[in-house]
Symmetry: C2
Subunit: 525 residues, 2 copies
């Protein structure tokens, strides 16, 4: 399969511009063929216009029709087989095992949404029946359900070239909602993007989806992304990446004549709290597991535990020695791109220059072209004064914060801003003593874990991958799991409509057999 | 019951500032005693700090406890009896009948939310059970539900001094979600606000709610509202009023260090489409009903039909004559305030100065201190060129737009921005011929009506009182009905939590007997 380097504009490939860039192998610094052509303003415009035309058809596709499309995308991705895995390995430095797993997750995600569409109850159908006899005024027949917002612009992440990229969670939830997608390809894995983009194009064609249900544009310049955000036909934005990137899109979207929602997931330090009794019981084990979680995939997860608060304990010194030993043994690993490695190294330097922060241990192996693990130590007194210690450093590092007493630990928890996750390690007794901690932390994050590690985000119905600002620009939702679909819908209400004109979800005889709220009662008949 | 003119800061009354203002009887222009004191910065701050402290308790109140509070508020409002109605009549110029009805709606709304809380399923509890045997990695136990956002700042509307004011839809949905409310009293009905505010204070006290679950500050200056929006403890804003007011709050909220959601309902022209066959059948009746809908409550409804598109028809001329006759017979009415009357008159002048727009008829009665009905006429060709014809004029006026052909009518529909409602009048045959119109309009509004009138918003589960920008700043929700509760929540997820630490909504044995999504299946056991 030969890559073309072109933009995917609905059913056609297009190369109007002459600014090109290349993928790069982060393990070697080598440039990867072919050249990819940045989309021109007219290509972006054409993609969005097609997307808007497609919306008029796609929004009315049935759940089964949309499900068939998602399942076809899953099949076409699997059909790419080793061609896809090989290209993504070259572009991302990620291992075959990791990428095979991530592909499985991506395909599983497409299937979960397909299932959800075939079942159909996600539309939150509500029916309040008429009462012509009511006084003083008759009660009308009122019915409502969730409907698609319109074309969505999506920006993928570099750290999950499948699961948070072209056919990733944002795209699949937008499609499930009934929204066409204009995808901005990630310049760190343009070849992967093209392979998956063409797989989608084939899937759309063979399941009879309208042209424009998917388009993909290449570009490294920020104005290419901004042109998507500014276009009046675009109705929502999905983004996973840095705070500065997400915030810039959010601000631009709010400056539009018609502002639109931006779902930007922008990073998190995923604080972990280790309470005294469990530290005594499981000290070495926790050190080992934590080091593994921090260094998993060279630390390149948005759920990487970057802050570890240790409760007041006589064991904390030994815990730090354990952790240091563990970190010293972590081999440096290839990071996703030269840019990410550079940012990681800058983050490390920034943190080690802070007064009151010391390096406990550095990982093994050469740092050339690779990210070296690092574990820092500071105290809660320093942390409470220096808000910058809370900022995410994307990569295999973590900062251990020791506390003088329970009060100080709770105070540190209170001071936290928004994060994706928070984790508590504690025995039953610890959790009783620190009960307030749960109450504090559930106001700071989207997901709370007990005695586990935040890396590894389950794709399911109950998952919340989100959290208060600055973890995301919209805490009211999740970017992983079926909750994500609601980001791209709004309720529409029909008053006194005859049966013929109602969507099937709202007809009296419930042809789709979905769960509905009828006069306040949940029923599936 | 003597009014104090003071701010309600949690459990106490406060008057720190010395800038005072008075309510005014819009029917006479007379000033109404007593003086109301604008809140000082420290009063605003104290109210919000109390609100934030209250949140720590109130967020964990059970559904039954919150329901008891809402029901007590309803009782205390009813107990004010004629004292409340009399003061509100004086301040608003609204009739006793109208206000008694609105009070019933407000009390009904409190009870509907109480019901919803006692039933409990609104939290969208989701449970994905663990699978320790899963390969390659065990599946953790994941549970999630909706939790309250935090203290909410609410700005009421002048046109519904009960239903969209102190204890109105925004307040009750925030309380239902678990959020304390800091209410900015409307300067057009400060006495009404105090009466209802004190009723809430009593209800909170007798149902053991934490101090700060409700506070209310007075003020006419915009910086008082802005101080609420800017305060870091405030987590969301509810607003009903003008576009300029809502947009200013929205922009300020997005400029915060931590941006927060703003639910501003900002107005709508509620386009009505009258198709040819029904015009032939029901011409006079429609003219009569439409004139009644436009002039109901002196046109002071956000769902007032301000734009009427007439399909191509030989009857349109007679329809305009009918309408003119109807409008000429409408008596001028007292409007809510001198400011609103003034804006209405300016809107009328603005519209009559547009080339291509003509006045068809003016209502009867003196315009002094009163709003006089007005019906205008223009054509779709003019409408398609002049976007300003779409803007809401708040008051008893409407603009009839005649069309040359079906194509032009659809084009005008396509051009519309966001509105709260759209209405189609048509026979079965009309609706078949104009089927596309439903498809176009459901992309423009929150609620679509057939052969009815948009005034009169039913408070129920299926209602959507909302719509795309500029009708609101957030189309993904409703400000009326139980859907409104979701504006003030976000999902929180618990991974591997022991039963003891889970909220009752998520415990295995389902102690609240609510509907939940368990491994993707809807169950209430």
């Amino acid at each position: 399969m030969k890559l073309t380097g072109k933009n995917i504009i609905g059913n056609r490939l297009s190369q109007e511009g002459d600014t090109a860039f290349y993928g790069e192998n982060p393990a070697t610094g080598e440039r990867l063929e072919p050249a990819f052509y940045e989309a021109s303003p007219s290509e972006i415009n054409e993609a969005i216009e097609k997307s808007n035309r497609a919306f008029q058809y796609y929004r009315n596709k049935t759940g089964n029709e949309k499900a068939a499309f998602l399942e076809a995308v899953a099949e076409e991705i699997l059909a790419l087989d080793s061609v896809l895995i090989a290209r993504t390995m070259e572009e991302s430095g990620l291992t075959e095992g990791r990428l095979t797993g991530e592909r499985g997750r991506t395909v599983g995600q497409l299937k979960l949404f397909a299932q959800c569409l075939r079942e159909g109850s996600w539309v939150d159908a509500r029916i309040d029946t008429a009462d012509p006899e009511r006084k003083p005024a008759p009660r009308p027949d009122i019915r409502s359900m969730q409907k698609a917002l319109g074309p969505v612009g999506i920006f993928g992440a570099s750290n999950f070239p499948f699961a948070f990229s072209v056919a990733g969670g944002d795209t699949v939830s937008a499609w499930a909602a009934g929204c066409p997608v204009v995808f901005k390809a990630h310049p760190a894995h343009p070849g992967t993007c093209e392979l998956v983009g063409l797989a989608i194009q084939r899937a759309a064609e063979r399941t009879d989806m309208p042209e424009g249900v998917f388009s993909m544009v290449h570009g490294r310049r920020t104005d290419i992304g901004m042109a998507i955000v500014r276009h009046p036909f675009i109705r929502a934005i999905g983004f996973t990446g840095s705070f500065s990137g997400g915030k810039a899109l959010f601000d631009e979207a709010n400056r539009r004549t018609v502002p639109i929602p931006v779902y930007a997931e922008m990073g998190s330090s995923n604080p972990v709290f280790i309470l005294p009794r469990i530290l005594k019981e499981r000290r070495e084990k926790i050190a080992q597991e934590l080091a593994a979680s921090v260094s998993l995939g060279v630390g390149q997860f948005c759920t990487n535990p970057g802050l570890v608060f240790v409760g007041p304990s006589a064991d904390e010194n030994n815990f730090r020695l354990d952790l240091s030993k563990q970190f010293a043994a972590i081999s440096a690993g290839v990071m996703l791109s030269a840019g990410i490695l550079n940012n990681y190294q800058k983050g490390i330097s920034r943190l080690e220059s802070v007064n009151g922060v010391v390096t406990m241990a550095t990982g093994s192996g050469e740092a050339v072209l690779k990210g070296q693990a690092r574990v820092f130590h500071s105290t809660a007194s320093v942390f409470l004064q220096k808000r910058e210690l809370e900022e995410e450093i994307f990569g295999p590092s973590t900062l251990v914060i020791t506390t003088d007493d329970k009060q100080q630990l709770l105070q540190a928890a209170e001071q936290l801003g928004g994060h994706l996750t928070a984790t508590i390690h504690g025995t039953e007794e610890d959790l009783q003593e620190y009960e307030e901690l749960v109450n504090i932390l559930e106001q700071k994050v989207g997901r709370l874990l007990l005695n586990g590690y935040p890396t590894g985000v389950e794709v399911c119905h109950a998952m919340v991958h989100g959290g208060p600002y600055p973890a995301t620009t919209d805490s009211r939702t999740s970017s992983v799991g079926t909750l994500a679909i609601h980001r791209f819908t709004r309720p529409v209400c029909y008053q006194n409509f005859p049966q013929r004109l109602l969507p099937p979800e709202l007809k009296d005889n419930n042809p789709l057999n979905i769960w509905r709220l009828i006069d306040g009662e949940r029923r599936n008949n």
